[in-house]
Symmetry: C2
Subunit: 172 residues, 2 copies
């Protein structure tokens, strides 16, 4: 059966440390609840399921755990490409500069048209899209939705749109 899943936010707060330090599962002593499958937990798991590529097109990206997830994929050899908004990526708290410094290819939308997307394509076949910006506020304080699907009729247009934006914003 085709993967189809919907997540709603705000997410409960729970520890996600085990995604980044696998040995922490039984040994994290932070004060957050552990082992809780929150919406954010599930979002992170879908992103971290990437084995070959992650194409990310987000207006704003300031969430530190999402930044850690993207850096982890990059360090494992997953091909990560990011398209983001030029104005937003320059503001305080944006993680775009950190991704660039880590060697991830980031292209910023340079036109006058505002880039308001918030979607990701995992391994060219799993779409993650919705209202949620990749910020802390969105995850914890806003009512938001994220839809995850592997339905080709929904995924393929986003794959094409990512490619179009990637080429369009080629700085070369």
């Amino acid at each position: 059966k085709t993967l189809n899943e919907v997540l709603f936010f705000p997410s409960e707060v729970a520890c996600v440390e085990h995604f980044f330090t696998p040995t922490a599962t039984h040994s994290c002593f932070c004060s957050l609840p552990h082992g809780v499958e929150t919406s954010f937990y599930r979002l992170l798991r879908h992103i971290l399921s990437a084995s070959s590529s992650l194409d990310l097109c987000v207006f704003s990206f300031s969430n530190a755990d999402l930044r850690r997830a993207v850096l982890l994929l990059h360090s494992k050899g997953v091909a990560v490409r990011v398209v983001s908004d030029k104005d937003y990526s320059a503001i305080t708290g944006s993680q775009i500069g950190v991704l660039r410094k880590a060697g991830i290819c980031v292209r910023c939308d340079v036109g006058s048209v505002h880039m308001h997307h918030k979607f990701a394509v995992v391994d060219g076949r799993r779409l993650i899209t919705g209202s949620l910006n990749w910020t802390l506020t969105a995850v914890l304080n806003n009512m938001e939705n994220i839809l995850i699907t592997e339905e080709p009729d929904l995924v393929q247009p986003f794959v094409k749109e990512f490619h179009r934006l990637w080429v369009l914003n080629d700085p070369a």
Copy 2:
């Protein structure tokens, strides 16, 4: 086959008058292009396909053509319910007051949690969701996406979430 469609914005500009004055198809003399199936045209057509109900949950609603579409459905006897953001609905250009005056049930999110959704459910079975706010800027000036699906695994969670928000924001 299950309906699955993706629309990208900004939309080209074209006349949509024929949706509201059916006799205008052959007789509109405005300066916009006619008979062009833009993304906005397709979005309007999906909304106007409602025959029994339209449940709308949008952060911002200032687009006049979308307001006309919602009023048209209401005048035809379609049960329209709207959940919107309290702060945004008070700003200049918001169409929420117009909907209320026309007798449409509108409930504003009254909590401290920011309502950032932009989805609609048509006849309880067709989901319209994405990054697009119901504003003129979003339609004409932003890169945005809208996904339309009748896949039950994707539609049902949104039907439930709408019901939850509707009850939660009952002013009574």
